[in-house]
């Protein structure tokens, strides 16, 4: 049986939740909006973020991510126009517009008039000998073990990456009683915000810029790593190797968009370094090259939860407008969201994202 619906949203992270709420605000009584989340609970990456958010006040800066996530999830559950399906993995987007979902071991089929993909991102990996030993984890994995499950993930950790995620997870490891041997960063300077770096420095954790992992060793599980210094061209300097014993190595070396569904639907994709990977080519309404498929959040380029939420609102109202729902409200809200995004991306910290988005626009114009 195929169920016809108006709008399907894939992914219940900050982007997807905001998209659902926005669309519902514009939707008439009886509209069918379905949100599918593969996890048991809504919230996406926010469920494990115990730190206070950075960003602007409009996007909840100063609140802890975990509480922002709960607030949004509660609002979505309370909205009668949104049907929420958890434990529901979207498997396939077909040419005839059919979307297949695995829910509770059942294979379901839907035909949504519009679709918003908000699947987020996955963690990047690093190539070095021994990188498959048990004990080498993504920083997000360690964060999930300790902040969602309450399990002490390690005794002694080496963290790779001094961006915000590496710094924040290191600090959270200390809070969970784990020894953090050091943070290793290949770049000559710390990438994340200084507030996070200074918290670590105060706790006595060295942040070693200009270093990387040469190899990991251990008989059956990780026992330690060999670090090596890099020159200004990121080339290892022979003879500077140093061994650090640890039972866990955490990789916080960036995320890349989780875009498999977009490839399936044949959305035009383009590699943009500033957005951390291959991203969909979108228009001002965040619609992909396939009419009726919209994107928002990390899947459209790695940024932050704050911008993911605003992108979610933009995509939600854009889909609503395309469905003919309350066009005036939708248009006004779309413009507001665009302004907010411009604000968030202004200033020096937004330079990289602005450059990335400019590239996407260039490629879109080049292709039509």
């Amino acid at each position: 049986m195929i169920r016809d619906i108006d709008l399907m949203i894939v992914g219940g992270g900050p982007a997807g939740l905001m998209a659902a709420l926005a669309a519902a605000e514009a939707a008439p009584e009886g509209a069918k909006i379905l949100l599918c989340e593969r996890d048991e609970a809504l919230g996406g990456q926010l469920v494990k973020q115990t730190h206070k958010f950075f960003g602007s006040e409009k996007q909840h800066a100063g609140e802890r991510g975990i509480f922002i996530g709960r607030g949004l999830s509660d609002a979505v559950h309370a909205e009668a126009k949104i049907e929420v399906m958890t434990d529901a993995t979207v498997l396939g987007l077909y040419e005839d517009g059919i979307v297949t979902v695995l829910n509770d071991d059942k294979h379901l089929k839907f035909r949504p008039r519009k679709l918003i993909v908000a699947t987020g991102a996955s963690e990047k990996f690093l190539a070095f000998p021994g990188n498959d030993l048990p004990g080498i984890y993504g920083a997000g994995a360690v964060q999930t073990l300790m902040n969602v499950s309450g399990v002490k993930p390690a005794e002694r950790v080496v963290m790779v990456g001094a961006g915000n995620i590496g710094l924040i997870v290191s600090y959270q490891l200390l809070q969970a009683g784990v020894d953090v041997a050091c943070v290793v960063e290949a770049a000559p300077k710390i990438g994340g915000y200084l507030v996070h770096a200074s918290k670590l420095a105060r706790s006595g954790v060295p942040i070693r810029t200009g270093w990387t992992v040469k190899e990991a060793f251990g008989d059956q599980e990780l026992e330690g790593v060999v670090l090596i210094r890099l020159d200004e061209n990121f080339q290892p300097i022979e003879g500077t190797e140093e061994t650090v014993y640890c039972d866990t190595l955490c990789l916080a070396v960036g995320l890349s968009p989780l875009a498999e569904l977009l490839y399936q639907a044949d959305c035009a994709m383009t590699y943009v370094r500033e957005l951390s990977g291959a991203v969909p080519v979108v228009d001002e309404d965040l619609m992909t090259s396939v009419s009726g498929i919209y994107v928002c959040g990390d899947v459209s380029g790695i940024e932050e939860a704050s911008s993911a939420m605003v992108e979610g609102r933009l995509a939600g109202f854009a889909a609503a407008k395309a469905l003919g729902w309350n066009a005036d409200l939708a248009q006004a809200e779309i413009e507001k969201a665009r302004e907010e995004l411009n604000e968030l991306r202004s200033g020096p910290t937004g330079a990289r994202i602005r450059a990335g988005i400019a590239k996407v626009q260039e490629r879109r114009e080049g292709s039509c």
């Binding site: 802890r64 963690e123 048990p134 993504g138 073990l145 309450g150 969970a176």
Partner: protein, 102 residues
């Protein structure tokens, strides 16, 4: 090991249950994933690579990477980082790519 005291969080672990890992009993809680319960019991090696037989553990813990696949109650290739613990369930290391029972 489980975190008993945390400056910000408290954990609702659910009910204590026992499941079977490679033939031996392991304790877990119903709100925990199998991966979390094994980790808490100090078990980090979940499988061995199909060709070189190298030990493998989890990597992402959110269901993205398939590094944690095991056979659960006879079903192969279950991602144990997104599967909750149940009383009496059997969790086994699988050989190679797993065998689907007819």
């Amino acid at each position: 090991m489980r975190i008993e005291q945390h400056p910000i969080l408290s954990f609702d672990r659910g009910e204590k249950v026992t499941f079977v890992f490679n033939g031996r009993p392991v304790e877990g809680y119903t709100n925990e994933t199998i991966a979390a319960a094994l980790h808490a019991a100090g078990i980090r090696t979940l499988s061995h690579s199909p060709e070189l037989d190298r030990p493998r553990g989890l990597f992402c813990a959110i269901g993205n990477c398939s590094s944690c696949r095991m056979t659960v109650d006879g079903e192969p290739n279950v991602r144990i980082c997104v599967t909750k613990v149940r009383e009496g369930m059997t969790v086994e290391e699988q050989s190679g790519k797993g065998v689907v029972k007819p």
